[in-house]
């Protein structure tokens, strides 16, 4: 009993002691703060403080005495440091839009392959003009890519050659491409000639020399970089969790002395031969033995143990340290390999930094904090790795995979500056399908494009416009076009029908068209060519377009069902007649087939829904050469549209419910419409495929084995329970 009491007292004393410490703790922790530091927090002053702008501070009088603000703007134009408003003549771009002139190539002038690729990319783009009077931007015929005096590609006497150009005008509105500048030992960014007011599109440009919103930083690409097309991204499917065998890898030269050597010389501190593999070699240049240090032999041996490609494809992050110059080939290699680049190049203005948000695709490190890099990359969360990796693939395919893409991106950036208020927003540049496919002239509102509905959280409009391409004269009331008009007009989603009159006969009188509940607008085609069926007519105000041939047979139910499917996939072509392509290995070319197969890659525009933006893209984005080929053949326009849409979305079109027959058999009628019967027709389509594929530089079409049918389609339930019951009866 006594012992119990004693323990009780002891226990309560203990508790009190603990409490005492506990309560004393915070108090004592707080007091020294007050004591030692004179100002723990910013004090609250009680006296009335004055505002930083006195209410009567007016600038008016004083300001108006000054000379015109216009003169003030012009003051800066003499400076070497240029900006668009001081060194660029916008008036040249006013009337003709953004056109680019390339000086004609002179005989005997040595031009490297890379530069030739750049020039031909410009010449085959829609910006090209051969008339300097129409041009807004000028590109030299002199190879300025390699300005390293020790390089065999170096062009001598560039200074005088440029001064002799008749349109040079101190470089105003000129664009100069450059990959390498300066030479051993200091590798300055000087080009060795006076660039004047010309813009620079340069690789490895430093933030100090970069004139913001004037120069453009381009990636360093090798002479093997393909002109068009280019490799697809390496990523074929996502893995979750997104980790790969290595965390961080690098394999490259080490410079023993001179500029840019510090970072690469320090890499071995971070190398652990397990998941962080950073390999350097001293073996480059003629006299490497002379400079070699104690580490060289060990490094070289380690270097040869690993295969670069294997490392690249099996690592989550890839180190991109500066070389002699700020940029290195490692950057594009990592990007293509879906290996998230870890930049280690202080002061490098990253490629296309004006438009690309690199934080979403790369880790930007600091050379001074090399030793922190491993813990930094390890701390990056899985979610972010997954999204960084996918973004590398998007950016690679959108802007970097070929010389043409790099050049076009450069031109588009300059065009955006010229357009100013109409320019693309950052979202357009950094989201699929990328800036090259998102033309801001179409609309400045993101919701007008098919790609951004989910980003904005909006839905496409609930209506469509049907466009019927008519080529035969109206003879009898039993012609398929009448049935089609009536069937389409009955659809609850139909807003209006446009009949495009591409027939040689004059327009039929108004009363000859059947009476419908929706307005029918007849447009007479001006040139009566095939491409005009895809013109972005002002009358089309709905997001969806239903493209129809005049002899298409469709029921109202089919139209309704296809439209409901399109609403879920607004960025793709959704329709009935499907076709497929294949690689003909005997003839080494692409083949086209209309046979019944298990897959398809095209949905013909004789009966298909697509977003009206593709009309605009078809007309504006595609080069004149392809469109005129379509017009001459009066064929292939539907193939071209499929190429275009698949190139944008990287996805196949969508075929809805099977339909064996969708063309009315032409009963003895001989007309242009029965082009399907023409034996040449098929051969032409084969040829088109190959022409298109060569312009795109790759085959954009994607196969699909999926068809979308109404739920309960051909299921053994009562027909009354089916919503789209007519579809089965056809």
């Amino acid at each position: 009993m006594q012992a119990k009491k004693r323990y009780l007292i002891l226990f309560s004393a203990g508790v009190c002691l603990i409490l005492l410490f506990y309560l004393q703790g915070p108090a004592s922790r707080r007091t020294p703060n007050r004591g030692d530091d004179p100002h723990p927090h910013w004090p609250h002053f009680s006296d009335p403080l004055r505002a930083f702008i006195p209410w009567d501070q007016t600038e008016t009088e004083d300001y108006n005495v000054r000379v015109s603000p216009r003169h003030k703007r012009d003051d800066n134009s003499g400076a070497y440091k240029c900006r668009m408003d001081s060194c660029f003549d916008f008036s040249l771009c006013g009337s003709n839009g953004f056109k680019v002139y390339v000086y004609p190539q002179q005989k005997g002038e040595k031009i490297s392959e890379s530069y030739r690729n750049i020039l031909s990319s410009i010449e085959s783009s829609r910006f090209y003009t051969s008339d300097p009077g129409q041009a807004c931007l000028f590109v030299l015929n002199l190879d300025t890519l390699d300005r390293d005096q020790l390089s065999p590609q170096y062009v001598h006497n560039l200074k005088t050659k440029i001064q002799n150009l008749n349109l040079w005008n101190n470089g105003r509105n000129h664009l100069i491409f450059n990959l390498y500048s300066g030479t051993w030992p200091d590798y300055t960014e000087d080009l060795g000639f006076e660039i004047g007011q010309a813009m620079l599109a340069k690789a490895s440009i430093s933030t100090e020399n970069f004139r913001p919103d004037f120069d453009i930083s381009i990636p360093l690409f090798s002479k093997d970089h393909p002109r068009t097309g280019g490799d697809r991204g390496y990523l074929k499917y996502n893995t979750i969790p997104p980790f790969r065998k290595y965390v961080l890898v690098f394999k490259g030269k080490r410079y023993l002395t001179g500029i840019g050597s510090d970072t690469r010389n320090a890499l071995h501190h971070v190398h652990n031969a397990e998941d962080v593999v950073l390999l350097t070699t001293c073996k480059h240049g003629k006299d490497w033995q002379k400079h070699k240090d104690a580490r060289c032999d060990k490094d070289n041996a380690e270097y040869d143990r690993y295969d670069y490609k294997e490392m690249l494809h099996n690592s989550t992050f890839c180190l991109v340290p500066r070389g002699r110059r700020l940029g290195s080939f490692r950057f594009l290699e990592a990007l293509q390999a879906a290996c998230v680049p870890v930049m280690l190049s202080n002061g490098w203005e990253l490629p296309f930094s004006e438009i690309i948000d690199w934080h979403t695709a790369a880790v930007i490190g600091d050379e001074r904090l090399l030793l922190q890099i491993p813990s930094t990359v390890r701390s990056i969360h899985q979610d972010r790795i997954l999204s960084l990796r996918q973004q590398t693939q998007f950016l690679w395919e959108a802007y970097f995979s070929s010389v043409e893409k790099i050049v076009l991106t450069t031109l588009e950036i300059i065009q955006d500056r010229v357009l100013q208020h109409n320019a693309r927003s950052t979202l357009m540049w950094n989201r699929l399908p990328g800036g090259l496919f998102t033309l801001p002239q179409f609309s400045s509102y993101l919701g007008d494009f098919p790609f951004f509905y989910s980003v904005l959280g909006v839905k496409p409009q609930q209506k469509f416009t049907a466009v019927i391409h008519a080529v035969t004269p109206l003879v009898s009331q039993s012609q398929p076009i009448f049935k089609l008009l009536v069937a389409v007009a009955k659809s609850q989603y139909c807003a209006q029908i446009i009949v495009l009159w591409n027939c040689d006969k004059p327009l039929p009188a108004k009363h000859r068209w059947p009476a419908t509940s929706v307005p029918v607008i007849v447009i007479e085609g001006e040139s009566k060519v095939m491409s005009s069926r895809f013109l972005p007519y002002d009358n089309i105000r709905t997001d969806a377009v239903l493209s129809l041939d005049e002899d298409t047979v469709l029921s109202t139910t089919e139209v309704d069902f296809a439209f409901t499917v399109w609403q879920i996939f607004p960025e793709r072509i959704v329709g009935y007649p499907a076709r497929s392509h294949f690689w003909d290995s005997n003839k080494e070319r692409w083949g086209y087939t209309s046979k019944w197969t298990n897959d398809y890659s095209m949905v013909l525009t004789g009966a298909a829904f697509y977003h009206r933006y593709y009309n605009y893209l078809y007309t504006q984005y595609l080069p004149g050469s392809l469109k005129s080929m379509v017009d001459q053949l009066s064929n292939c326009e539907d193939i071209l549209m499929n190429f275009l849409v698949s190139a944008v979305t990287k996805m196949p079109p969508i075929k809805v419910t099977q339909k064996k027959q969708y063309k009315e058999t032409m009963m003895g009628q001989t007309s242009r419409a029965s082009r399907w019967a023409d034996p040449d027709h098929f051969a032409q389509r084969q040829m088109c495929m190959n022409k298109f594929a060569s312009w795109f530089g790759t085959m954009p079409l994607v196969h699909s084995q999926m068809r979308l049918d109404p739920v309960l389609f051909k299921d053994q339930v009562s027909i009354l329970r089916k919503k789209y019951r007519d579809i089965e009866r056809l």
Binding site: I9, C16, L23, A27, H39, H41, W42, P43, H44, F45, L49, R50, A51, F52, T58, E59, D62, Y63, R73, F90, T207, E208, P212, K236, Y237, N238, N346, G347, I364, D366, E367, R368, L369, D383, L386, Q390, F394, H421, A423, S425, L427, N430, Y445, D448, V455, G457, T564, W596, N598, K650, V656, Q658, V702, S704, Q705, R707, D709, P710, V711, F713
Partner: protein, 559 residues
């Protein structure tokens, strides 16, 4: 054995003695501890009022109590800002260190009153209300540290918000006298009104070595991209006037110009536009007939008619923000607050927070030269885009412009993001208001990939003890060539297996349970994420009149 006996024999005699001794000992100990506890408790809870009264006395601290510092005439002057400064050349990143929170630590110098040798203060305003607000907001934030040795960024308490009130040479000397100045390394200055007559430089004229400048009204010529931060000019009306948010949509006027300090050349051009387009434009100016006092700041006039400012801004779709003597205009803040889309005409102006904000979504930037074409340019913008911009403009104001605190926190966050770029907020996070964040869908797998068959798929089979059907499923599934792995999840809760094979779906309670699940899930998601579609995906030749053996997926649909 022996010891125990010994102990046992002495025990009974000792205990009572020790008991009293111990009792006294324990009672004393107990009471001491208890007293200590009470004392602490009192100190802890009661004296709180004593402490807060101490704080209260702090509250009543006056700026005039701040220590006076005399600047010697010969005190060194910092160098002019170096235009080539970038984070990797002029900023000491080692001071920020590596920390798991990825947050920089900011130190604020205690307030001092700097005077020259004669005793004249270096600034006519001294500490302004706005700068005081800014510093106390920073001191209350997570960025703040009172430990000068741990700080990565230093903010002087010398107020340089308005250059007009400064004596430039003396201010520069005062900066150089700061104990940790060290060539301005890692120091951040806030300035909103740079330059002075007649040519109004676009950056603060005070020489400041390598200090970072958060400036209002930078031009592309003075802004060091990636180093300086472009900030808005705070409008004092933000705090005074409460403009309720208006639904985006068409407004009474199309274009409104409300600035009073517009160069006469531009005013002439605006008036010409007004003549051409009439009622759609409203061109306001200072009220000449009103007395010039504080209230006149809140009034604007057009031909004798008086309008309330800034309320009138809400009546227009677009509001003109023209360059004044300076590029940065406080009007921009008012315009955004009113949810009016700013039409910014100030060539070479670096828009506020342009490093992180996409101004194309909230404003229209037109070159000054194109002022006469303004009306046609604005008319060409789709309505829905205008509404989007109105919403975005208002949101920009709320998030980044509305108070000195918002401006200060945004600036620090931008610098923080540069130092810890891998933990930075994304561009979309900066630019998307929360409304959009909720309604939009951002798939984590956004890349359009059609994976090859080679990696195959993993089948997950849930089982409720129905071995028979389970085996059937397993045998069927394992025939599939692209199956990579089969995972069976055993959910046996000691329930006896149902007799019928299709028992589950025939079971009424099962369907009820599942509906309950759906409701439960929907309430957790806050919305119904499932979408109803009317189509299903079939193989291309599904149920077509075609030989089955030629189909890629024969006999499908026969189940």
């Amino acid at each position: 054995m022996c010891a125990s006996v010994k102990y046992g024999s002495r025990g009974p005699a000792l205990i009572p003695r020790m008991k009293t001794k111990h009792r006294i000992y324990y009672i004393t100990l107990f009471s001491v501890v208890l007293l200590g506890l009470i004392a602490t408790g009192m100190f802890q809870f009661w004296p709180h009022s004593i402490e807060s009264s101490a704080e209260w006395s702090l509250d009543r601290r006056s700026v005039h109590d701040a220590p006076l510092v005399r600047i010697p005439m010969s005190s060194p002057i910092p160098e002019r800002g170096d235009l080539s400064c970038r984070m990797h050349t002029c900023f000491d990143v080692y001071r920020c260190g590596y920390n798991p929170k990825n947050k920089i630590k900011v130190f604020i110098y205690p307030l001092q009153r700097f005077v020259d040798e004669v005793g004249v203060p270096i600034s006519s305003t001294g500490l302004s209300r706005e700068y005081n607000d800014l510093l106390s907001a920073i001191s209350d934030s997570d960025f703040y540290t009172d430990d000068v040795t741990r700080a990565c960024l230093f903010i002087p308490s010398i107020d340089v918000l308005n250059q007009n009130s400064l004596r430039i040479r003396e201010t520069a000397q005062a900066l150089a006298m700061l104990p940790r100045w060290d060539k301005g390394m890692n120091h951040l200055l806030f300035n909103m009104l740079p330059g002075g007559p007649p040519d109004y430089n676009t950056a603060l004229d005070v020489p400041r070595d390598r200090a970072l400048l958060a400036g209002g009204g930078f031009s592309t010529w003075t802004y060091r991209q990636g180093y300086d931060v472009s900030i808005p000019v705070y409008s004092p009306l933000s705090a005074e006037v409460d403009l309720p948010e208006r639904q985006p949509g068409p407004r009474r006027y199309f274009i409104l110009s409300s600035q009073t300090a517009i160069h006469r050349e531009y005013r002439v051009e605006l008036e010409r536009l007004k003549e051409e387009n009439g009622e759609a434009l409203l061109l306001l100016d200072k009220c000449s007939n009103l007395s010039q006092d504080l209230a006149s700041v809140r009034k604007r006039c057009y031909k004798g008619q008086v309008y309330d400012y800034p309320q009138i801004l809400q009546e227009s779709s677009f509001c003109v923000v023209l360059r004044g003597a300076r590029l940065g205009q406080a009007t921009l803040s008012d315009v955004l607050q009113a949810g009016c889309v700013p039409v910014i005409m100030a060539d070479s102006y670096i828009l506020p927070f342009s490093e992180v904000l996409d101004w194309k979504r909230a404003s229209v930037v037109i070159p000054e030269e194109k002022l006469p074409e303004m009306y046609t340019i604005l008319k060409s913008i789709p309505h829905r885009q205008v509404e989007e911009m109105q919403r975005q403009a208002r949101w920009f104001w709320e998030a980044y412009f509305s108070s000195m605190k918002a401006i200060g926190m945004t600036t620090l966050q931008i610098i923080n993001d540069r130092i810890y770029p891998y933990a930075a907020r994304t561009y979309e996070e900066w630019n998307n208001p929360s409304v959009v964040k909720w309604s939009s869908v951002n798939s984590p797998l956004f890349l359009p990939l059609i994976p090859p068959r080679s990696p195959g798929f993993t089948a997950v089979v849930l089982t409720y003890d129905r071995i028979e059907s389970l085996f059937r499923v397993i045998t069927e599934i394992s025939k599939v060539p692209s199956l990579a792995k089969l995972l069976v999840v055993w959910n046996n809760q000691n329930k006896s297996p149902p007799e019928a094979i299709d028992g589950l779906s025939l079971d009424q309670t099962h369907m009820v349970e599942r509906s309950e699940c759906i409701n439960k899930f929907a309430s957790v998601f806050g919305t119904m994420p499932l979408k109803v579609v009317e189509h299903r995906a079939d193989p291309v030749l599904y149920k077509d009149d075609f030989p089955e053996k030629l189909k890629s997926f024969p006999n499908i649909g026969s189940l």
